[in-house]
Assembly symmetry: C3
């Protein structure tokens, strides 16, 4: 299991790679992940129909720049891959600043930051740069060069599976299509890697998905049996210094929603209702699937000024924030993994716990121990309608106490699963 | 469509007419309405059985007064038709003030106002007058005269229908049985007339009912097919200067209730739960019908001191208040008329909006346009369970934006009705 | 019906008796109850299997003490039966204080109070004493004597039935197993006795159960037809000076829950959700039975420092508090007894109340009488889905007004039960 520092190092390792929805940057990112956890890697050919979409041509880029009359690169892809609009078609031309301007993207409100822009499905080209860089450019002629290729190829994604005792699956999904953006989503990838390493002999089968946003998720959904998916989390923005935010699934009260809300209840956090915008919960929660998949972030999607800019760099995220995200996910999955329904086999009156050594022999005291209270609650609500989490919530007891009581009662033959 | 001033003029035109639950005053009122919108007029004979009730004899009155020993009229029907208890039997007698007193009705708390009283089903007679008029009467003999007739005749009501594209109906019901009371309900009638004129090629068929309260509504319900009624509004007290009040149907969350609450949400207003008292929602919401019919007023039934007194005169209502009531009703009916359920034909993941020109080609920006958000919401919730109003409410978007998105998606073949 | 003073006298009469879950103290308590209301008494033999439990041996005690070297009793059962741990096995020994200490129970936080302790199912012996008594004991040898017997015998309980017009039953259950504790539960017994006397010709059959806690309730449940039980109250801690507390049944919104909450609404009170701890609601609300049985106390179970100590003596409870508990129970049972569903036989529009003398003949007034409003509410909601209590709650009217309206409408043939 990676420490906070190791997760941060993994982010820094992946940060310079030029990712997009296809191409070698994605493959290099999967290589980096594969250094920590084994990945099943998939390559889906250009042109493959996936529901309403078609896998696009593969985009690769070797170099790009804008050079002034002296041949000096004033905007240089080698400094940051954000400088080129994702999926830019090749260009090699000389043009005036005025001709160039429609192809330039800046953030006037943050003049030193470079924005992140793409144009996947509309063939065009462009550069992103700081407003202050643009402001400093004299009129005149510029050499413009994007050495990219758009050609038939593949869409790449990777999967890592932790087998469980049942085939029912929990998915953890991270997008791997954003170039040099640390919180969005290299931090999420790093936390997912560490989480995958931490899982030991789980009840559910956990499937970690590292794939491009939107088209990647749709491709995966089109090629796999979603019936196995019981629960899931889309993980992103896992490393900034804000409080955790859980965005509910479309169902609103799916088990994953109840679990995450329980796991977060004793710390500062935000709960957001589902909306069909954000990350790939959009796809998992489309009405045809309507899966119990929520989204965990720290500061949510588009909720911080650095979002989709060069300011979302490795300094923007912290090792301790990634560790904190990991702690909550581990606690949530521990609950999820253990959350089941029991049936009281002795439902008429209370069973005699004392003769089984489960109850204090000395009566009259008013300070019933938590363990005994947990057993009474489990017995009372073990009617097939309440899961252990529901019992914890109704009783106000911790999930662990309730789960331990269920185990003790199960061992005593008083409840069955 | 009548302006506020024209609605007020219509109120003044109808104000002097002596309406009751039957009689020529009702007919004259229907004449006045008919000057603006065509009416189907119905005459139901005395003695007709309508559910638990019987259409009563028709009441007409020509003159009434109390005259003092000098022959001077101290209470005079010619000054206000409120002076006579509605449905008073004829009387021609001379009696002392002491003998007369049991037949006199005043409002001690508002000594200059004349109350409105009726006695439809218990044969009696009486006069209503200001307390200060009564206080000024010397003892002595008075001539008492009510020149009324109670005879077999008819109960009158009128209907105006705006045909829709479907036979399903929305009713707008106004009572036309109150004599010189401006807010209750001449303002409601005037707003209904203007609303009827404003409707153009609606989806639903809109039926405007101008009929006496209680017995008129029960008569109408007994003679018509209520199965056609999908939604309805009982409109009254539409012209006073108070905030609008929507009283929910008995169902509490019928579509009409949701629509009115949505239409009112951005302005000061009150929402009241259903109660079996007030106007003819009592009949439409009786348990055998239980229709989705709410009631819109400004200050509600019996909620203002001038209620059922001579102070509810044309000065009590304002043209701008009637216009405001009309605006809300038009907005509400625009929502209702457009509110339908759609089904996403591409429910597995999102459809590719970009290739249909419905989505920005430049990605990465965080300021998704409202139109795109509305499309994503409609696609996500177009599962047959959510109507457009429900989508607007859940998304926080305006109804118009959601409806426009549904239209765009429908035109693109992505959803069906 | 016992007055507050008489209830207090009954508590004092029962206070010295040494009750336990079996034995002559229970029988003597049933004798005392039987002086006020006739009891059916039951004796269930030791060894009888009752669900998961077995009726234990019967425990009786004649004397017990700890005597010092001079033969002086330093702890004496004759002074308080709390001094002996309930179900102590016989002992006759001489031992040092050090040897004795593991058998001694005190309350260090309340050094002058004697705790109440039992050990029903784990054979042992012990004494309870004030911490200050223990602190004053010199080291040395002590004579220890408990003259008790544990032998096959019986478990005793009593029932008092007030026959109703229907066989459906309401149970009122009091535990009779606690020795000298006044609020817990002699006050509950005394209030139940007075309540039983006060019931006259009720609709339901009321069954009062006086039985040992847990094993008594389980025994009763194992030997009787619980299908008859419609509603019930476990009554305890009925005499302290705190506000009343109603603890909901496991169902949470059973009719008894709604009734008690309504009966308490206009006075200071607490409502607690069900928990599987406390008194015999634990058994009645076990998942196999899940009866509509709540619990009424003043200060709840274990909610006061004097709980299960010698400070819960007759001075701790007050006659007026017991009277107050009785008043609420009588009001609650009056509601419960009268709460039924009616069906409007004239559900299409309102029936004409006026022709039946049920409605004011003079119209136009805005101050409709409560009786008329109650009739309109009953007619509107008499659809089989609403009981009279539900109509009272939705209308905001008092239950009595609603019930009187239902009676009037029933007499007029407008509704049926």
């Amino acid at each position: 299991m990676l420490t906070g520092g190791e997760m941060h190092a993994l982010v820094e390792r992946m940060y310079p790679l030029c990712r997009s929805i296809t191409g070698d940057g994605v493959r290099a990112t999967l290589d980096a992940i594969g250094e920590h956890i084994p990945l099943d890697r998939h390559e889906v050919p250009t042109g493959t129909q996936v529901f309403d979409w078609t896998v696009p041509q593969e985009w690769n880029i070797r170099d790009a720049y804008i050079a002034d009359a002296d041949g000096k690169r004033v905007v240089d892809f080698r400094e940051s891959n954000l400088h080129v609009v994702g999926y830019s078609v090749p260009v090699a031309a000389t043009m005036t600043l005025a001709e160039l301007r429609p192809h330039l993207h800046t953030l006037p409100d943050h003049p030193s930051w470079v924005p992140y822009r793409t144009s996947y499905y509309s063939p065009t080209w462009g550069f992103c740069l700081a407003q202050e860089t643009l402001d400093a450019l004299p009129d005149g002629e510029y050499e413009v060069r994007i050495d990219s290729t758009l050609a038939d190829g593949h869409l790449s994604y990777g999967e890592h599976v932790v087998p469980g005792r049942v085939d029912d699956e929990v998915i953890v999904s991270c997008h791997v299509c954003h170039p040099s953006l640390a919180n969005d989503n290299l931090a999420g990838i790093a936390v997912a890697v560490s989480l995958a390493q931490a899982l030991e002999n789980p009840y559910y089968t956990y499937r970690f998905l590292f794939m491009p946003g939107t088209i990647g998720a749709i491709t995966w959904l089109a090629r796999n049996r979603v019936e196995r998916i019981r629960h899931g989390i889309v993980l992103a923005c896992a490393g900034d210094r804000g409080d955790l935010t859980y965005k509910r699934s479309r169902r609103g009260a799916a088990e994953i929603d109840r679990v995450l809300e329980h796991a977060l209840r004793d710390r500062p956090h935000r709960i957001a209702d589902f909306s069909p915008y954000g990350y790939d919960e959009r796809q998992f929660c489309s009405p045809g699937f309507n899966l119990g998949v929520g989204s965990l972030t720290r500061t949510p999607y588009a909720g911080y000024p650095e979002y989709h800019t060069s300011a979302d760099n490795p300094d923007f995220i912290s090792p301790s924030a990634m560790e904190d995200t990991l702690v909550v996910l581990r606690e949530a999955f521990a609950i999820l993994d253990r959350n089941r329904r029991y049936t009281n086999l002795s439902p008429y009156g209370e069973p005699q716990l004392g003769k089984r050594g489960l109850y204090d022999s000395l009566g009259g005291r008013s300070d019933a121990k938590q363990a005994q209270m947990a057993m009474l609650w489990v017995l009372n609500l073990a009617d097939g309608d309440h899961d252990l989490l529901g019992i914890a919530q109704r009783s106000g007891l911790g999930f662990e106490a309730v789960a331990a009581a269920a185990t003790a009662l199960h061992d005593a033959g008083l409840v069955k699963e």
